[in-house]
């Protein structure tokens, strides 16, 4: 009888350990399988010819994804230019100004915004943003700027919620101390609160970048997917994610391997961003 309960406790524990390990296992599998498919082409064609290659014609043996890397960064930076100030402002408003009732309204609204599927963003971008850009700024409308606009909105929830967390975790005494010295609320925010929440805010921007660079469905609908480095904000472009999503369904042989190579590059970029945000910056908050 006694042994039974003890045995059961042990069994449960080991089952739970196995469950906990499953996350690591999945991560490992994802890694291995994308690398296993993506790396051979790097060896065969050459790292340089892929990463710095200008021409993507996989059926003819050209696997250059340099324009896509640049394009991915361009839309991400564009998204940040739009999303970062807006998101940070929202976070500041939420943490410092908004009353309880406003918060009760705004927070779920922002979470809901995060829940809207990216295809819906892409669709509305095509229907409303693209024509708007076409008629007021020129070009086809499928462009860097349209994509950045939509992505800028899509990364808002990430930026807002993470900066908000950083702002509210600034100790109360900081605020009170500053207010006691006669500073106005904005002076307090600007001189005391933002500097002490700096690393969290930065993390929110970086994670927002991660979100933008990994976004796929909205991007392929709006970006125009042209295979060259855009020279103006009105030019169409193709991102790394777009490249994979556009061609995976029908690609075979080396062509498919090329898409996995694109995936490897994307994975490395995302890993670096997440690492910087999670371990470089968050660690500082903890101190």
């Amino acid at each position: 009888m006694i042994d039974r309960t003890v045995l059961k406790e042990h069994l449960v524990k080991w089952v739970l350990v196995a469950f906990a390990l499953s996350s690591l296992l999945f991560l490992f599998l994802i890694f291995i399988f994308i690398l296993a498919e993506g790396l051979p082409l790097f060896l065969k064609v050459g790292v340089n010819k892929i990463i710095f290659g200008m021409k993507w014609a996989p059926t003819k043996g050209y696997f250059g994804i340099f324009p896509m890397i640049i394009s991915s960064f361009l839309v991400t930076i564009g998204a940040l230019i739009i999303g970062a100030p807006l998101g940070l402002s929202c976070a500041i408003y939420l943490s410092e100004y908004a009353g309880k009732r406003t918060k009760m309204l705004l927070k779920p609204a922002i979470e809901l915004l995060a829940g809207i599927p990216s295809v819906v963003f892409g669709f509305l971008g095509v229907i409303y943003i693209v024509p708007l850009v076409r008629s007021y700024l020129g070009g086809s409308g499928f462009s860097l700027i349209s994509t950045s606009l939509v992505l800028g909105v899509m990364i808002l929830p990430t930026i807002i919620s993470i900066s908000f967390d950083a702002l509210v975790s600034v100790p109360r005494t900081y605020r009170e101390g500053s207010a006691a010295m006669g500073a106005t609320k904005w002076q307090t925010i600007y001189k005391v609160i933002i500097p002490s929440a700096k690393s969290g805010i930065l993390a929110s921007f970086i994670l927002g970048m991660g979100r933008a660079i990994g976004e796929t469905m909205a991007v392929i609908m709006i970006a125009g997917n042209a295979l060259k480095i855009p020279t103006s904000i009105l030019d169409p472009l193709r991102t790394l994610t777009g490249n994979i999503a556009l061609e995976l369904a029908y690609a075979t042989g080396d062509h498919r391997l090329g898409l996995f190579s694109t995936g490897v590059v994307l994975m490395v970029i995302i890993m670096i961003l997440n690492y910087v945000a999670n371990f470089g910056i968050k660690r500082k908050i903890a101190k």
Binding site: F19, S22, C90, I92, L112, T216, M217, I270
Partner: protein, 278 residues
């Protein structure tokens, strides 16, 4: 000229206010456009009938079924796995190198963009394990995707359960697992449910990872090995290939409405959970 800081203060306040409401405004506009344009094309017949002519005519019944199948099955798999991980992390270990590894795994999974899940699911489940484009491949891929959300929300909910409840349970001769099963999990249920609701939302809205694993067959998936099309995928194909704007809007209404309801439900459950502990 020096401007009085009090004016700046007021100006900033106004500026921030406007921006905050601008964000909410975007959400309202998105939802409003979808509903306004889509409702005329949405009715019971649309929901309950099969699509014809690639979706140009008819309804979206199979894609609704496909969405529900995908969401429920992946929740069914991810919940025990995620809850178990959360229980392990909170109840069975102290913070150590091992838990750091696991947390690293969870964080990393959460950061992987859906297209990479699509790539992985495609090569691993569809090709290597020879599942083909199938409900099963979609479900397995989705399970991994939502796992981090379930783990995080469950962990938070479990941590919020007061320690005294555990102590009382132990003092009444309960073992650790009995305590977890009978006291900790029941008390953490609302938080766990919130995570589940959010994950369902994710499964309903996901496209990139699903289109390459579950495929996009318009037929009703009748077995795990059948390919199928979720609402999000159907909507994407209708819109992108310009098959029918009306049907696209109609699908979008059903899609956005479900996500709206799921999120509202999640928020409601979460507030109940917060009320319980404060």
């Amino acid at each position: 000229m020096r401007i009085n800081p009090r004016y700046i203060n007021r100006l900033v306040r106004m500026g921030l206010n406007v921006q905050a409401y601008f964000t909410v405004g975007i959400l309202i506009i998105i939802v409003a456009i979808i509903f306004f344009k889509g409702f005329p094309h949405t009715n019971f017949a649309f929901i309950l009938s099969f699509p014809e002519d690639m979706g140009r005519e008819g309804g979206i019944f199979p894609s609704i079924v496909g969405t529900i199948q995908l969401a429920l099955l992946s929740i069914l798999l991810a919940t025990p796995l995620g809850l178990g991980t959360a229980i392990f992390l909170t109840e069975y270990t102290k913070e150590s190198l091992f838990t750091k590894f696991i947390r690293f795994g969870v964080e990393s999974l959460a950061g992987i963009p859906s297209i990479l899940y699509g790539l992985f699911g495609f090569i691993f489940f569809v090709i290597k394990l020879k599942m083909g484009w199938s409900l099963l491949a979609g479900v397995l891929t989705m399970t991994i995707m939502i796992l981090p959300t379930i783990i995080r929300t469950s962990e938070e909910a479990i941590r919020a359960v007061p320690r005294q409840l555990r102590i009382v349970s132990y003092s009444l001769s309960a073992s650790k697992w009995e305590t977890i099963k009978k006291v900790v999990i029941p008390a953490a249920i609302p938080g766990i449910l919130t995570g589940i609701m959010l994950s369902i939302g994710r499964a309903v809205g996901e496209t990139a990872a699903i289109i390459f694993t579950m495929g996009s067959s318009l037929r009703l998936p009748l077995s795990l090995m059948d390919s199928g099309r979720t609402m999000a995928v159907h909507f994407y194909i209708l819109a992108r290939e310009g098959i029918s704007m009306e049907k696209a809007y109609g699908t979008a209404v059903v899609l956005v409405l479900s996500i709206l309801l799921i999120n509202i439900l999640a928020y409601y459950i979460m507030n109940k959970a917060i009320a319980r502990y404060s």
